[in-house]
Subunit: 150 residues, 4 copies
């Protein structure tokens, strides 16, 4: 596990305030795979002193989403349509977590990915999978999607 230099504001944090708040960093990204990391601290905890399920789900969604986004069809970007999260073991305060996402399938309309969250020691914390839908980017090159009327 190569930890990114925390003194350098990271691409993920620049683009997503939520990932900046959580303290998520990109570890590595390749053709169809991505790995991110987070150190569990007080702010991530639910009752009983363990990481909240939403933190784990966020890690899986992010790692798989980065992996899928590498190959979006021209003019489109992927949105998560469905996220399955299976919790295996609590994540404790102070633990370093690594989340990996891997693409299983690219189609013209959808992609399927799977992911895992493990401790730095390799102990499985959660598994997940996602269905992603490619949607037309209404504002290519812009930071913010224009809001659609309901």
């Amino acid at each position: 596990m190569t930890r990114p230099d925390p003194s350098e504001p990271h691409e993920l944090s620049r683009r997503s305030p939520f990932l900046a708040t959580l303290g998520v960093s990109l570890v590595e990204r390749s053709e169809r795979q991505a790995t991110i990391c987070l150190t569990v601290d007080e702010q991530h905890l639910r009752s009983r002193g363990i990481a909240h399920g939403g933190v784990i789900a966020a890690l899986l969604d992010t790692a798989m989403g980065i992996a899928v986004a590498e190959h979006s069809p021209e003019g489109k970007f992927p949105v998560t349509a469905q996220l399955d999260t299976k919790f295996v073991r609590p994540a404790w305060d102070g633990e370093d977590l690594l989340a990996t996402g891997e693409v299983c399938h690219y189609g013209s309309q959808t992609a399927v990915a799977r992911g895992e969250v493990r401790t730095a020691q390799g102990v499985l914390v959660a598994t997940g999978s996602g269905t992603f839908v490619f949607v037309v980017d209404p504002a290519p090159g812009q930071d913010r999607l224009p809001r659609r009327p309901d």
Copy 2:
């Protein structure tokens, strides 16, 4: 939607630093149902200026978990074993979100719940469901679970 008085530190926030960070409040809790709320702001956003999927998953997990916890068997507490999140519409900066969780089934070992996230105007943002497992509470009455060796 009755908004809780923000000047009063709320039970959810006292017990869960993550929910305090997100700004989640309890709206209402009854026999087999719970409703919580959150106002989307800058800190919840992913790239493209919409709420991160992990925020939505956290709302569903929390609302369903509160609903399920009402009836845990004596000496046990529920943990989320599986969380299904289906994303329907982006949640935009400034929107008030309401998440409801409802118990579908109580068994001796497991419970099943379903949930929804809607805007204050009633527009569907996400649906979800969860399988919860009742585990023996190793530290009844204490705030923190003792850490288990792997």
Copy 3:
């Protein structure tokens, strides 16, 4: 529960040999909802004498799929992209099961539905939900999709 007249070969069975084999009949179909039924018999059983999980998943997929198909965009038809099945109680030999599917959301590319399987006495057997993707019909009006090369 209005049982269809078994002497009349039913639309579902005509169109799907698998549903004919299982013995699934349509009970009712309305704007955004569909109900189907099946009587559990020997052929549906897994080991231990209870209905196989695949039978329950098939009921949920079918009921939700019929509900979603009612409103497909012109020239498109829905395919199941993701199916979540939560098993609550075994279904026993001889029981009449009713499966309902209900549309939660229609979009231009996807639809989301949820479903339930209950006994004729109303006891919950399973809950489920599905994400459906609308794909262009390559052979409108024909019984069989032309096979695509991989």
Copy 4:
């Protein structure tokens, strides 16, 4: 893919009439993994001439269930609590399908597995995962579970 000798009535078919009807055979079973096979024919089809989603879900549930059952705690057996099925590509009449299940996690109360369905040529048809709960066997050594009152 070693195909089992069809002249020998197979263990899976003996124990599960549903798997016998579908024509599912065990290919191989090891420590934490199982592979089964099925040749798609007319009886497995939904409308439009492709395999019904329930057939694919049944393959995933079965392959993962066999893998998990290998290590059940003494006096217990696993039941599927949740099954996630992600459909990637239609399965066509005449195709040989291989489904594999692999255990990701064994706990004292639950197990988590993941699975895949591929054609004999290795093309991905579906991915899946399951949460299994170990329940006390009320009738050890007997073929049928005694029916519980609701």
